[in-house]
């Protein structure tokens, strides 16, 4: 079912569908889908709202290989209902991570191709529940030695439950277009006022939520250009860098987050954070090409903390 692939190495990750991303990321013909579209495991709720369903409920799960290393994969389709967590789409993600946790003969690396605005409002209770179950499953899987790597570079970003999910992963790989957050810009503006956060100021929104800032302040472990090849090589490089999750890791992470809050708590925008990080010319970051940015980010201590 991976034939939907006019994909090649330089194709945009941002523009691609979930299935095209899997075709571009994994080794050719290595992918086997679980609960594929012909099984029609669809949302039982959407028709009540007179909304169309998708044969895979917007999540593709399966196994494959990346550079010869076996992996389990899940990809959210950000174009379908904003890639949201519903009863079925959520259960597919949870089931995949639990399978890695419980069956040591399965690949012990899980790649989550996140592209989601969060919980699907039409099935909110089931969606919220599945986010909680997914975070628990990821932590348990990591404790049992599984690496869970989040890939963020889709149109819907990783917000709400997807942002929380990214934060529970062993490693996060992001592109410039990949936004990560919990509460979206419009919601912050609605609740806190336009003085707090102007959601129409796109350069502010992207500089705060976008991949470059997330990489610089240590929310993402690797940055890539927006391409299939970029994500493939960035993920491959991370596969060998995953530390085991234990008490010491969590304590180090807590320490790191406390320090980050102290450091950046009073910043009004992303540029002032980059100034504190010691970037010489922080204004130049938004226009910087991927290769120069990766070099810059790799040289910044706060961006490369090993905790998580």
């Amino acid at each position: 079912m991976m034939e939907d692939a006019a994909t090649h190495d330089q194709s945009s990750w941002f523009q691609a569908t979930a299935r095209q991303r899997l075709a571009g990321l994994l080794d050719p013909r290595s992918f086997t889908e679980f609960l594929g579209p012909s099984e029609r495991v669809e949302s039982p709720h959407l028709h009540i709202f007179d909304l169309p369903r998708a044969f895979d409920d917007g999540v593709v799960v399966g196994r494959g290989a990346l550079g010869g290393i076996p992996v389990l994969v899940a990809a959210q389709e950000g174009q379908f209902m904003g890639g949201t967590f519903g009863e079925v789409s959520g259960a597919k993600l949870v089931g995949l991570v639990r399978a890695a946790r419980d069956h040591k003969d399965l690949p012990q690396t899980v790649l989550l191709l996140l592209d989601s605005g969060g919980v699907r409002l039409q099935e909110a209770n089931a969606g919220e529940l599945s986010v909680a179950e997914l975070m628990r499953a990821i932590v348990q899987a990591r404790c049992s030695g599984v690496s869970v790597i989040a890939l963020v570079g889709g149109k819907s970003g990783a917000f709400g439950g997807a942002g929380l999910t990214a934060a529970t992963c062993s490693r996060v790989v992001v592109s410039e277009q990949g936004r990560i957050g919990v509460t979206g810009p419009e919601v912050i503006e609605t609740n806190k006022g336009v003085e707090e956060y102007d959601s129409r100021d796109k350069s502010l929104v992207w500089s705060v939520c976008g991949g470059k800032n997330r990489r610089l302040i240590g929310m993402a472990d690797a940055f890539t250009e927006d391409s299939m090849d970029g994500f493939r090589s960035a993920v491959r490089a991370q596969l060998t860098h995953v530390a085991r999750l234990d008490l010491a890791t969590l304590q180090a992470e807590q320490k790191r987050l406390t320090a980050r809050q102290e450091k950046f708590g009073s910043c009004e925008d992303a540029v002032s954070m980059w100034k504190i990080l010691g970037v010489n010319d922080p204004q130049s970051i938004p226009d910087m090409d991927a290769a120069s940015f990766i070099k810059l980010a790799n040289g910044i201590e706060d961006a490369n903390h090993d905790a998580r």
């Binding site: 939907d4 579209p37 028709h47 169309p52 369903r53 044969f55 917007g58 389709e77 174009q79």
Partner: protein
């Protein structure tokens, strides 16, 4: 939601051995098409689920034109529609057939 069902007999079976293929996504102005090689001989069925009512005749015409052009014998085609225009529908159907014929 509206469900439409069309049954045709194509001129011939669609070449190729691929059992199934999926093309497109359910998004505004887009649709997903699932093609399965499950029918006998030159039979072809198209099942459409759409939230947009009142375009039955347009769907019928697009499907008939598609069957005439690509002769998708043996296929059951299922569509989840997100309000796609007829040209997009036709394009996806043709792309789906090309996938089923590819190696």
């Amino acid at each position: 939601m509206l469900t439409l069902y069309f049954k045709h007999t194509a001129k011939q079976r669609l070449p190729g051995k691929k059992a199934e293929a999926l093309i497109g996504v359910v998004a505004s102005g887009n649709l997903e098409v699932l093609l399965e090689r499950v029918l006998l001989d030159a039979a072809c069925e198209v099942v459409i689920a759409t939230p947009v009512v009142g375009y039955d005749a347009t769907w019928e015409a697009v499907v008939a034109e598609f069957v005439e052009r690509s002769s998708p014998g043996g296929l059951r085609i299922s569509i989840n529609d997100g309000g796609a225009r007829p040209d997009t529908v036709f394009l996806r159907l043709m792309q789906g057939c090309a996938l089923m014929e590819s190696v």
